[in-house]
């Protein structure tokens, strides 16, 4: 038994899955917030959003999106929510990254009625500057990293080519040396 309830559930096949592919699973949570509350997560243990590789993030959200539509039709809901709680401060209660699909009904008593705050201009601009600067920096770094990897890959290719050429020459020389 692992220390992760979702890993346990997946490994031990505790109850039937709604969906499964090579990367992800979907299942009805045994402790639903609302009826039909579905979890989409990776088979592999990944804790938070930042640890998800991009292609897997895309795969999971696309899957959750498609399933939300199917669940809407199957249960004749009035709406659906797709929700990620990323980190304990964000109310993540299982340490395994997951996307929640929540079937909704009019007047089901669950509201996203958070207090809409008024922040002064200065604070808004400060936050704008910080987030934008960080995002730009991260994107630039990733781009440079990618380009560096391409250069290294090309260098390796060239080296391989050279090695092949050397091998070929040696082979030819050996052939020549055999001629009486």
């Amino acid at each position: 038994m692992t220390s992760c309830p979702y890993c346990d559930l997946i490994q031990n096949e505790q109850f039937p899955l709604l969906y499964e592919d090579e990367i992800a699973v979907a299942f009805l949570t045994p402790t639903p917030h609302v009826a039909g509350h579905t979890i989409v997560c990776t088979k592999k243990h990944i804790s938070i959003l930042e640890q998800l590789p991009d292609d897997i993030a895309g795969h999971l959200f696309d899957l959750a999106n498609r399933l939300s539509s199917i669940i809407h039709t199957a249960l004749n809901t009035d709406g659906t929510n797709i929700l990620v709680n990323n980190g304990p401060t964000a109310n993540q209660d299982v340490p395994h990254f997951s996307i929640n699909i929540l079937p909704r009904r009019k007047n089901d008593g669950y509201k996203f009625d958070w207090n809409k705050r008024e922040l002064n201009n200065e604070l808004m601009l400060e936050i704008h500057n910080r987030i934008k600067t960080q995002l730009d920096k991260n994107i630039k770094n990733r781009k440079e990293e990618k380009e560096e990897n391409i250069i290294i890959a090309n260098q390796n290719k060239d080296q391989d080519k050279k090695q092949n050429k050397d091998d070929e020459e040696n082979y030819l020389l050996k052939q020549l040396q055999r001629v009486p």
């Binding site: 639903p32 009826a35 929510n81």
Partner: protein
Amino acid sequence: MEQKLSPNHSPDDQCAFCQIVKGEFESLKIYEDDICTAILDIKPANPGHVLLLPKQHFEIFPIIPKDIVKHLSITAKKISHAILQSIKASGTNILIANGEAAGQASNHTMIHIIPRIENDKINQFILEKNQIDEEDQSQLYSIISQKIQEVFNK
């Protein structure tokens, strides 16, 4: 599904978010590319609350084509990460609301990325765990999995 879920039907040229995307309304943009635009919510749940919008007008998320959904998710991930690195936040909530009953407030669909800090008094994301009758759960499983089979085996 569109008819049932859309909170209101206003043509694209009256959509405030389309206007923001086109630059016709002011906004605090933190990111933009060919497919999406991200802005700060001016009435945020917490400082740094971001709205990530597809540039194209889609009323709900399920009708968005796969490649755009993937692009939006990857962008949301990048934004969440940048928020955690740059402002006082130790977690993020990512929320999509399809339909008025689900809290959809605009008919231009979007992803909310909400920074969280300890004791911030936001309790809307606490997913209370409820008990459910085994029989009821079984029934739900049958209905949903049948529909999934139908759709995925087409």
